[in-house]
């Protein structure tokens, strides 16, 4: 067996700059720590200053440099409030980015009244409740709430999305209490201390110097348009598998730590349903699909299969208990979807989203 030499690091006081004893050592120690924390403090302040000045995510409303990150919550709240959309919307779609391509025009044709797609990035059950309550506080009186439920909307270990945590109005709507400005500010500043934010900073500066094409935008009814991808598709140059490595990675990380359905989030989902019923609205819940390749990877690498089974059992029970329509569209066969109807490993395109709307309407008849 190899004879491993166990090594200790010799500590040379002269080389480290310390000498002397007693109080002098304590002074040195405190000064060294002080220098370290001062260094960290200066760097944090510099980073926060850049974050406020450049403001790539529009958190601080500085407005000097381009806002390059889409905060769907902020944008859709603004759209919903503007042009009295909130008054005319007979239906509201709640969900994550995987429900963003549900076309309000298709829904209007299917159900007979105007819809607003209020799906927001990485939405979980608390987002549905916050958005519904906020919409009602404006005076909206929807007749139908269509909830596109991702499995990880009921994630049991991940906290709320930071964009919800930073949203004062949604927080107040969710809790019924005035949101803590200090907590919101803290979350906003903390989220700027990330590599992702640094990349956004750099991209905003680059956009300022060399403006690039818009990747996507929301129409007045909340419908998402992938300007760039749709353009590439039309030109026959779009490949949905180009981003597979990044996309699959994202989903694996989402589900790796999910061990079960969160009781708190189930409660929040049920609160949306009961409050909507009390307000005279109908609710439809549908489990959002993933393409077969993605499901296979998740089943191999995470507890996705068991989670999906548990979600189906839960939703079946929920349907009976709260008298709500529930549809399992977690596989493409369930809504007669296609394996080609995807923009990437998790997001349906217009065609498959349209098929989902047709299936929802057919199920309601």
């Amino acid at each position: 067996m190899p004879d491993a030499e166990v090594k200790y690091m010799p500590v040379d006081a002269q080389e480290s700059g310390f000498s002397g004893g007693g109080l002098w050592r304590i002074f040195h120690a405190i000064r060294f720590l002080g220098d370290f924390f001062a260094g960290v403090g200066v760097l944090v302040c510099l980073q926060l200053a850049c974050a406020v000045i450049v403001d790539p995510r529009g958190d601080f409303n500085t407005g000097v440099f381009p806002v390059i990150v889409r905060d769907a919550r902020q944008i859709k709240m603004r759209l919903f409030r503007s042009k009295n959309v909130y008054k005319s919307a007979g239906g509201i779609v709640l969900g994550s980015s995987r429900a963003m391509k549900l076309s309000p025009m298709d829904l209007e044709k299917a159900f007979g009244y105007k819809f607003f797609n209020f799906s927001v990035d990485s939405a979980r059950a608390e987002d549905f409740l916050a958005i519904y309550r906020w919409a009602r506080s404006l005076g909206a009186k929807p007749r139908l709430i269509v909830i596109g439920l991702d499995l990880d909307a009921l994630h049991d270990t991940v906290g709320p999305d930071s964009r919800l945590a930073q949203n004062k109005e949604l927080n107040e709507a969710l809790t019924g209490k005035p949101a803590s400005q200090k907590l919101i500010k803290f979350h906003t500043y903390k989220s700027s201390l990330t590599i992702a934010f640094m990349k956004d900073l750099a991209f905003s500066l680059k956009q300022f110097v060399l403006p690039a094409k818009v990747f996507s935008h929301y129409e007045d009814d909340g419908y998402l348009r992938y300007d760039e991808w749709e353009r590439l598709r039309t030109a026959g140059k779009f490949n949905p598998h180009d981003r597979d490595d990044v996309c699959l990675n994202e989903y694996i990380y989402r589900f790796q730590d999910m061990k079960g359905l969160s009781p708190a989030r189930k409660l929040q989902l049920e609160e949306v349903i009961t409050e909507a019923h009390a307000d005279g609205a109908e609710v439809i819940v549908w489990l959002t699909p993933l393409p077969p390749d993605t499901s296979a990877v998740l089943e191999a690498k995470t507890g996705y299969k068991v989670l999906l089974r548990d979600a189906r059992v839960y939703l079946a029970e929920l349907s009976g208990r709260l008298k709500v329509r529930v549809y399992d569209y977690s596989t493409i066969d369930a809504y007669h979807g296609t394996s080609a109807g995807w923009y990437d490993c998790g997001h349906t395109d217009e065609k498959d989203s349209s098929l989902i709307v047709s299936a929802l309407a057919a199920g309601r008849r």
């Binding site: 491993a4 166990v6 006081a13 480290s16 310390f18 490595d245």
Partner: protein, 456 residues
């Protein structure tokens, strides 16, 4: 709780550090370190603190009995009893279901029950800590301590509790005896240096590679030749930077409290031969296996055949220690065979040019890591097949991974380990550490990453 988390960095560590240096007596510091260890451990699951305490108390009292025994035979009973308890706990929590499932395949009518067993974090590590203590007491290398607080501190020291290094009592006995000494600024500076370097290795390098390698290996599509090699190389570096980063952090934390934790990695990918590799990789484990298993089995004292058998058995059990899966057992056997061949062909191999010897060793280690990383033997063989050009597909690897792998390849041959750096304690060094820490925090903020060895 993991070292790269907000709760550890901004709550747990500052509080424990401050209270430790405010405490004056040995007893106060022992109690504080013990309690902090249990809080650290209990953050994951408080129920298993009782298991940790039970294991510690059994070995503590058994060691005292060994010390008090009039005869060696009686002392042996206490040693065997204590080790049996430790191994029984480890065996049940870690291996019961594995053996039950495999036994059921061989004896399908046996109706062997399976249990929903939660694997206690770090059980493999703290079990080896207690076993090493008992054996050292038995062999007279260490006097059994009659200070329960000192012993609980040793077993429950949070810096190495859940993922090593495997520290023997005699390695830190002197530091524990002098735990009441005043603050040593040079230790503190060195500790901070080790900690931030370890943090960067883990959250910047290892986690960045993991984000690229994991989807490759999760994909259902066969990898291309290049993709398979990049995945293998990526994992090779990911594992090294993850584990050595953690070890550096553990060493750093030890220094912050005046405790010398021994070196655990010494540029293993520069090894010349597999024997040399095991003198450089997870040193605390390889030396433990050597001293408490290989030598006990007879070592190299009973002829070539028995030496080879002892090597193979030691490495098989070393592989099994890593996890309850056939891949770990095969990996252990693979290294056992390589060690045997290394001994047999030592002379001709040592005449090879150093670069060829190092490259050959590195390639053999990579093959081993494929076995280590794969979910099962079938996946491992499939991956190795892709690396040999058999059954390859078109799934390549992102360019970023290729660049990272190239950078790591250059780094392992040029950048020294933290142990070889002269980490200073002047103002400039404090600012340097703050910059390194800040960069690491940007990478880790908002992401929860667990150490690869966390569940061992």
């Amino acid at each position: 709780m993991v070292f790269n988390s907000d709760i550890f960095l901004f709550a747990f560590l500052p509080v424990v550090f401050t209270l430790f240096w405010l405490a004056r007596t040995k007893r106060e510091r022992y109690i504080l370190l013990t309690l902090s260890g249990y809080v650290f451990y209990g953050y994951w699951n408080w129920r298993f603190c009782f298991l940790l305490l039970f294991s510690s108390l059994v070995s503590f009292f058994a060691a005292l009995k060994i010390g008090q025994s009039g005869s060696r035979a009686k002392a042996r009973y206490w040693m065997i009893g204590s080790i049996s308890v430790d191994l029984a706990l480890l065996g049940f929590f870690k291996y019961y279901n594995f053996f039950a499932i495999n036994a059921a395949r061989v004896f399908p009518d046996a109706m062997i029950p399976l249990f929903n067993i939660v694997l206690p974090v770090g059980i493999s590590f703290y079990t080896f800590h207690t076993i090493s203590y008992i054996i050292d007491v038995m062999d007279g290398r260490v006097k059994p301590t009659n200070n329960i607080y000192e012993y609980l501190t040793y077993v429950g020291l949070f810096s190495q509790l859940v993922a090593g290094p495997i520290v023997r009592f005699r390695q830190i006995e002197d530091d524990l005896e002098h735990v009441d000494r005043p603050i040593q600024p040079d230790y503190m500076a060195r500790g901070l240096g080790f900690f931030v370097i370890g943090l960067v290795r883990k959250v910047v390098i290892a986690d960045s590679i993991a984000r690229l390698v994991n989807p490759l290996l999760a994909s259902q599509h066969p990898l291309s030749l290049a993709g398979a090699w990049l995945a293998a190389l990526g994992y090779t570096f990911q594992l090294y930077y993850d584990f050595s980063g953690y070890s550096d952090m553990a060493v750093g934390l030890g220094y912050l409290f005046g405790i010398h934790i021994p070196q655990n990695f010494n540029s293993p990918y520069r090894a010349l031969g597999i024997g040399d590799f095991w003198r450089r990789w997870h040193i605390s484990l390889s030396s433990w296996l050597r001293d408490y298993l290989y030598i006990r089995l007879g070592g190299s004292r009973s002829g070539v055949f028995h030496t080879n058998v002892n090597l193979l058995v030691t490495m098989l059990l070393g592989g099994l220690w890593h996890g309850a899966n056939w891949t770990f057992i095969v990996w252990g056997a693979y290294h056992g065979i390589l060690l045997i061949l290394d001994r047999i062909f030592k002379a001709p191999l040592s005449r090879l040019p150093a670069l060829a010897y190092q490259t050959g060793t590195f390639l053999l280690v990579i093959v081993g890591w494929v076995l280590f990383r794969a979910d099962n033997i079938h996946s491992a063989l499939r991956w190795l097949g892709w690396m040999a050009g058999i059954g390859t597909g078109t799934q390549g690897a992102p360019v970023t991974l290729a660049l990272l792998v190239a950078a790591c390849l250059a780094a392992i041959n040029t950048v020294p380990e933290a142990w070889d750096l002269r980490l200073g304690g002047t103002r400039k060094w404090a600012y340097a550490y703050s910059l390194v820490f800040f960069v690491a925090y940007l990478f880790m903020n908002g992401k929860d990453s667990v150490f690869l060895y966390y569940q061992f």
